[in-house]
Assembly symmetry: C2
């Protein structure tokens, strides 16, 4: 499904996103990642073959969650949960991370450092199937 | 296992915590919660019988993740991932939420509103089995 404009606006501010994958025994594995959008996919760059990549290759079901920008009248902080299917492609991690670095670390920031820019790395790509959480993107409040 | 002092210090600042449970089909379910500590357990109050409570009663394996306070030299923001087993007890949600409200909403804030203070509710209690993420609490960096 398409990524709502309201979610795109949150991503543009560089929210720390919690990526949940499933370990071999089915237990949740969580790491915090930088996230961008390419077309209708959420994308994350990795310089090494992390456990989350191995998990996605075995079971593509993931959740990606991050805070929204507003506090509603309840008064509760809005947040986005992306439910989706992930796949991992090889290469391209460095250009993606270099694009995201100023958003997450501040204007002028560079990451990865020059010594690591020859790494091909991996990109996780998430195709969203449902949005929940609290905010205009949430189809229904599944808590 | 015991909750490290470094993690207790983060909780005292009122971090928005991502609670991951497992849906009946094994896919991850994520909501953002307020969290406190009682003894050696992480505690969360709920006013209604949410999906996450049903999930925990079926499969107690959960993850709880939140940002830390520091940015390390990489330079990456620290974060905590609590892996653990959860159980749900009935009653006591209102006193817990009233205690956490000033931490999460600001000094003098009250939640829930008076109209909801007769609700018994539920408390999720997480006994940690492992800490990961990025920071002094992380046994090893499992990414």
């Amino acid at each position: 499904m398409n990524i709502p404009q309201s979610v795109r606006q949150v991503i543009e501010t560089g929210p720390y996103a919690h990526l949940t994958t499933l370990n071999p025994d089915g237990a949740p594995q969580v790491t915090i990642v930088w996230v961008g959008i390419e077309g209708e996919e959420f994308v994350m760059g990795h310089l090494a073959l992390h456990q989350k990549i191995k998990n996605i290759r075995r079971d593509p079901r993931v959740a990606l969650s991050f805070l929204g920008l507003e506090t509603n009248a309840n008064p509760m902080r809005e947040y986005v949960v992306v439910h989706g299917h992930a796949r991992v492609t090889e290469g391209g991690a460095v250009p993606l991370l270099l694009r995201l670095a100023p958003i997450y670390l501040g204007q002028g920031a560079e990451f990865p450092p020059p010594s690591k820019r020859n790494i091909a790395g991996y990109i996780t790509r998430i195709v969203p199937t449902r949005f929940s959480g609290m905010g205009p993107w949430a189809e229904r409040n599944t808590r």
